[in-house]
């Protein structure tokens, strides 16, 4: 029996009387992309925030590798190997693209509390950052301010920063959002490559992308997982069809 890299166990979260997540369990194994889909308001965002640590679960637990991370703060989970991208691209706009990646590298290596050596003269960090930027074809743009990047380039920068964390798990929140057809294609290729570095929990609205990429899919409806299975199983699942009836042709 192979043990999962990321195991979400019976996670529940209520906001007042509203049930956002109830008894959600997902296992993410090595070498897989696990897709998470669900209609708007199904509780996907709440689930991601609990995994990343922004929101604390009411009950249940999250295990990353060997370690339970349910009660760890956000930065600690990132240090332990959880790299996330945000639904709305989250970068540091006032510094260069290169510096954004360097920030991620120094976070991963625990080199933040160095006060003397200028970053611009730290060739080791810079070389490492070049590598991560190269992997997302952003090296030519590395000296411009991150605020000047296009939407698609910001997405790439986020992926590059996630790579720089050398994580155990990628947690990607709608990486295709707003990319358009051509951009989505590029990103799809990118994610397929990413999978060889670490497994991906992929939250995505773009059904075509999910069905093309995911090895397994979980469907979240009204805060509960109603089905988990391979792409074909999900396609033919009666409950899933019902949940999406009229809104999406599976």
């Amino acid at each position: 029996m192979v043990s999962p890299i990321l195991s979400i166990q019976n996670l529940s979260k209520k906001f007042g009387a509203v049930i956002a997540n109830e008894d959600v369990s997902i296992d993410l194994y090595q070498d897989e992309i696990h897709g998470l889909i669900g209609p708007n308001g199904a509780g996907k965002s709440t689930l991601i925030k609990q995994i990343s640590g922004e929101i604390k679960q009411d009950s249940g637990k999250i295990v990353l590798g060997e370690n339970e991370i349910s009660n760890q703060p956000v930065f600690q989970r990132a240090k332990m190997g959880l790299a996330r991208s945000f639904q709305v691209s989250s970068i540091i706009p006032s510094i260069t693209v290169l510096e954004n990646v360097i920030l991620a590298i120094q976070g991963n290596l625990g080199q933040t509390f160095k006060f003397w050596k200028p970053v611009s003269k730290n060739q080791e960090l810079i070389n490492a950052a070049h590598g991560y930027l190269d992997q997302v074809d952003l090296k030519l743009r590395m000296f411009i301010l991150a605020s000047e990047l296009s939407h698609g380039e910001r997405r790439k920068l986020e992926i590059s920063m996630a790579l720089a964390l050398e994580p155990k798990v990628f947690l990607l929140d709608e990486p295709m959002a707003g990319l358009g057809a051509a951009g989505s294609k590029v990103m799809t290729k990118q994610l397929a490559k990413l999978k060889s570095r670490a497994p991906i929990l992929l939250i995505e609205h773009d059904m075509d992308a999910i069905f093309a990429l995911a090895d397994r899919i979980s469907v979240l409806v009204y805060g509960r997982i109603i089905a988990t299975g391979t792409v074909d199983e999900i396609r033919s699942n009666a409950n899933v069809k019902e949940a999406y009836l009229g809104s999406e042709d599976l």
């Binding site: 990132a78 989250s90 976070g107 200028p118």
Partner: protein, 326 residues
């Protein structure tokens, strides 16, 4: 527009020319003014680290300025009166040695910054402004109601503290000490803001969620910056006591916090020489406009409004191009 480095060198030359002019014209008052600018610039440089680079508007830096000032005043007054600070369980004597007083002032104001920062940095925005103000006011009222060191009347120190090999009572010598300290402080700050730590600090200002998501604890970064900031402002406070040979609760009042903030904003936030330019302009206005009208602060306010509305990056932002390295 000129390069910021050239602008900074011009600032240094102008600043140095004032006390030399004072020497030549035999006008010691010029030297005193230049010294005041230098000391206030150090205070502003401390605040700039959190306000400019860290993005936290501290309205309580008078606390650190004043604590530094009182550390200097208290140590010196005990030494001059031959009366130990405490006698039990062991004797601690006062001292008039700057080389002891200045690091101690930095240590103690840095310690206070640690305590205040730990409580304040969990908040942000208006709440942060208010809670730092509240802490500074607590220290202010404590100083007023503490009769041992003069209470409301303040504490006079009839001699400046000593520095090995220099006669500190000589205005130019004292200016030199302060000037060297200012350059030293600015050098340290420039190293810090360009280091890994500085990158994290400036990133946390813009997007703390992102910083946490790459495994860096934003509050820890900000707290360290706050402590360094408090220590630097405390150093300025200690020098200010020496300059005036007097310290009173007024250095702890919120007016002082406001003035330090004005230096930073006027000169340019997150600009290394911003606080120096701001402090210099403040003193120049105080001297020249103050000679013409009692209400010179009206014109200071007027200039501040113009700068805030039209000059992003303060006076330096108007004149010099930002230095970027990457």
């Amino acid at each position: 527009m000129i390069k910021e480095n050239y602008f900074n060198i011009i600032c240094i030359i102008l600043l140095l020319s004032v006390p030399f002019l004072g020497l030549i014209l035999d006008e010691p008052y010029y030297i005193t003014l230049a010294t005041k600018v230098v000391i206030l610039a150090i205070a502003g440089a401390g605040l700039n680290l959190v306000l400019g680079y860290g993005g936290f508007v501290s309205f309580g830096h008078a606390a650190f300025f004043g604590i530094g000032g009182y550390v200097s005043g208290i140590l010196a007054s005990h030494a001059l009166n031959y009366y130990p600070i405490i006698e039990w369980p062991f004797i601690i004597e006062g001292t008039t040695q700057m080389l002891i007083i200045l690091p101690l002032a930095m240590l103690i104001s840095g310690g206070f910054a640690f305590l205040i920062g730990m409580l304040c940095l969990r908040t942000s925005g208006v709440y942060f402004i208010m809670i730092t103000l509240a802490f500074a006011q607590m220290v202010y009222y404590f100083a007023i109601s503490w009769p041992a060191y003069g209470g409301e009347d303040g504490l006079s120190v009839y001699l400046r503290n000593n520095f090995p090999g220099l006669n500190t009572m000589d205005g130019f010598s004292f200016f030199s000490i302060c000037f060297v300290l200012l350059i030293f402080v600015l050098f340290i700050i420039s190293r810090i803001v360009n280091s890994n730590f500085g990158l994290a600090l400036q990133s946390a200002k813009q997007n703390p969620e992102r910083v946490a998501a790459v495994g860096i604890e934003p509050i820890k970064v900000q707290l360290i910056a706050f402590v360094i900031s408090g220590a630097i402002t405390g150093l300025a406070g200690a020098l200010y006591t020496d300059l005036n040979r007097f310290v009173s609760p007024s250095v702890l009042s919120w007016h002082t916090s406001g003035e330090i903030m004005v230096f930073v904003i006027l000169g340019g936030t997150a600009r290394l020489f911003g606080p120096l330019v701001g402090a210099a302009l403040f003193i120049i206005l105080e001297q020249f406009l103050g000679g013409i009208t009692e209400n010179w602060q009206f014109w200071l306010g007027f200039i501040l409004i113009i700068v805030v509305l039209f000059a992003k990056g303060g006076i330096i932002g108007m004149i010099a191009k930002e230095r970027r390295n990457g």
